[in-house]
């Protein structure tokens, strides 16, 4: 919960929404980037995701190191990734 998972931005927010799509080890998920508005986000940028929200922008080196660190945690990381993959944060999906 507190460690944060790095995700690569693969889709930018559209229509003024705070929702971007990130990819984390092959899992593509909606993430709220509303706390990073002041930073300009680009495709391919990396962000640190805590409980569905991108809390900070990080560089690729930091992302790679953090992912490696998380893998080393074993079960805790598996649980977090599992929870992320079952999560469905794009609230606007209901409107589609």
């Amino acid at each position: 919960m507190c460690l944060g998972i790095p995700g690569e931005i693969v889709e930018l927010p559209r229509d003024g929404s705070d929702v971007a799509k990130v990819e984390v080890v092959g899992v593509r998920r909606a993430v709220n980037v509303g706390l990073l508005d002041e930073e300009r986000l680009h495709l391919g940028d990396w962000v640190l995701v805590h409980v569905g929200f991108a809390m900070s922008k990080i560089d690729e080196a930091e992302a790679a190191a953090t992912l490696e660190l998380l893998r080393g945690l074993g079960e805790a990381y598996d649980d977090e990734l599992d929870a992320l993959s079952r999560s469905d944060l794009d609230l606007d999906l209901d409107k589609n």
Partner: protein
Amino acid sequence: MRFVDEYRDAEQAHVLSARIAALCEPGRHYKFMEVCGGHTHTIYKHGLEDYLPESVQLVHGPGCPVCVIPMGRVDDAVAIARADPDVILTSFGDMMRVPGGTGSFLDAKAAGADIRMVYSPLDALKIAKRNPDRRVVFMAIGFETTAPSTAMTVLRAAAEGIGNFSVFCNHVTIIPGIKAILDSPDLRLDGFLGPGHVSTVIGCRPYEFIAAEYGKPLVCAGFEPLDVLQSVHMLLEQLDEGRSEVENQYARVVPWDGNPRALEAIGKVMELRPYFEWRGLGFISHSALRMRDDYARYDAERIFDLPGVRVADPKACQCGEVLKGVLEPWECKVFGTACTPETPIGTCMVSSEGACAAYYNFGRFTRERVKEAARA
């Protein structure tokens, strides 16, 4: 994985280790607290104590949010879940096995309560949207790392006029927790490894009083092995030079001034409570957040009747001493015997970020026993 190697370079670790040893004054003992459970993990997993001289001791702090939740708050949440068959209680997975006085969330779930694990408060809001005839409560826990997410979710609920969603707010703030440790008479510390991810939100400035008023250096530290070693080196350098300042080793992630948007979201939705009970540390003034009056309709504490009873921790459990860094996890009476990750008595063994779980999972217990046997 070239980058990872840079953070883990064994040669660099040995260089840092030698520099650390060179900075230690002969005959002096140094005690640094790593505030965050993430650091505890790194230290145990990579055996970083082996890179430190005997005179440098790392002790674990109160930085695991699950570990500091008192049993009475777990019971309050269970009471909410049982209040009405219409209620759906949601929380992070870490909370599910935390024992309350009347059992855990898993026990309550087995007894028929609708309790669901979510990854994000946004998941809880989505459950509320999909179940307009139910009342969905999110049990919010965590330090400033997760509080902005709860605040943003409430703002979203308010913007969309979702009326069947509320928050049982148990967010705690790190600074009063550290201050309580500093004021504790049974612990002498020489400095702190500051929590990396809490600091992405609050920045480094709020720690300045620790250096200025208590004369203890603090270094905001990253989570890689070399980050931790470098942070220890920075702390020793300050002590060697007679300085006590706040420094940022984790500047690649932590901005000095934090995340203004996150702080704004918290401030809009939540305010400081006059006091809050922390497991093992007791009641601490202005150490937790509650919902502001403007968001009363999203405040589970105002919607539901809560028992609000203080439940004493089990006598055998010494989580309090572990959280304060007074005891090493393996020194607890029930560690590894009655209390294991499978059958946890205390919160420090439940949470993956807890010192006891980290200690147990990375086999340091066995190591200490071997060392003890060798000494005998």
